[in-house]
Symmetry: D3
């Protein structure tokens, strides 16, 4: 423990994820008094079409935005 599940929208680079693993692990160890080797982090990337806010997929929201700003 801690076991951390990070839900993201697709699109981050592996370098960003690798930085995140390091910094989030450090933050958890500083604040929760745990050792780095006790920390597991998993990333779940969701496609824009599989994540919805206010009843609309992010894919649809972005498409509408693009259409408006043409």
């Amino acid at each position: 423990m801690p076991i951390v599940n990070v839900v993201l929208l697709e699109g981050r680079t592996q370098a960003q994820k690798d930085d995140m693993y390091k910094e989030v692990t450090d933050a958890l160890c500083r604040t929760l008094e745990c050792r780095p080797d006790q920390v597991r982090i998993m990333v779940q990337d969701f496609a824009n079409a599989d994540f919805a806010v206010a009843g609309k997929s992010v894919e649809a929201i972005l498409a509408e935005r693009a259409a408006r700003t043409g």
Copy 2:
């Protein structure tokens, strides 16, 4: 909030998912007194081979059914 995770077997169309986002968001707002912009829904599609019922993958169950009804 609410944050909703919907686990499905693979195969729904995007149109079905988009309808689901709208109708489930409306249902949540009607019953839980929340605003649409507070609702997040994520869909996790599982392959038939990665989901099991009664100790058998859905893939195996469907294959057996197909073999029986040949």
Copy 3:
């Protein structure tokens, strides 16, 4: 399937949850072509102190808001 996990902040009544189970199940069946008996919904209530937005627990956010509006 579908298996639905609904994360909420504590505080909804059981009547609200029971209405939500019915209406969300109907919405899923209408849009995803599944039967009611295939739908499972679980509710996870989180205490305000165990849920954070923008780095602050909802508990702290509400306390600040109450202090401001005294």
Copy 4:
């Protein structure tokens, strides 16, 4: 119920997963007094790059190990 989510690192064969479904279902039924048809198991395969231990992705850990044992 029970509904079981099994997080794995990518790489198991389907045969291994199918054996696991059977044996874990049997284990659950033996110990929790439930019927096989009440048991659902889902497998989430994570890429080595999407799972981190001690602040480093499994991908990076394996690469370093390979480099050391070159």
Copy 5:
């Protein structure tokens, strides 16, 4: 890994859970070629009122059943 989340309806004894931890861990190790110390299992107990099947909470389903069989 594996990291296993077991969702249950409230009511199992600790002895049942302890047996389950042992037998499920053994089943995972036999079928997925992993070591016991790599296996983590967490149990989430849901109240009957927080879990619904076919649009009705288990609590309501059991109450109706009790009323019918008086």
Copy 6:
């Protein structure tokens, strides 16, 4: 997004959790180019009896350790 679920063993103070929310949110924003208001973190505390490593609950592991060091 990101939506972060942190599974912990029971026992952290609220002050530790509040520090964790702040520092993990900052770490995510630094590395994933997101805004604090986009970050949601939820903490799931597990009782020692509901979390097992290597087939044994943490509760049992700690009891054995205490008995050995009497």
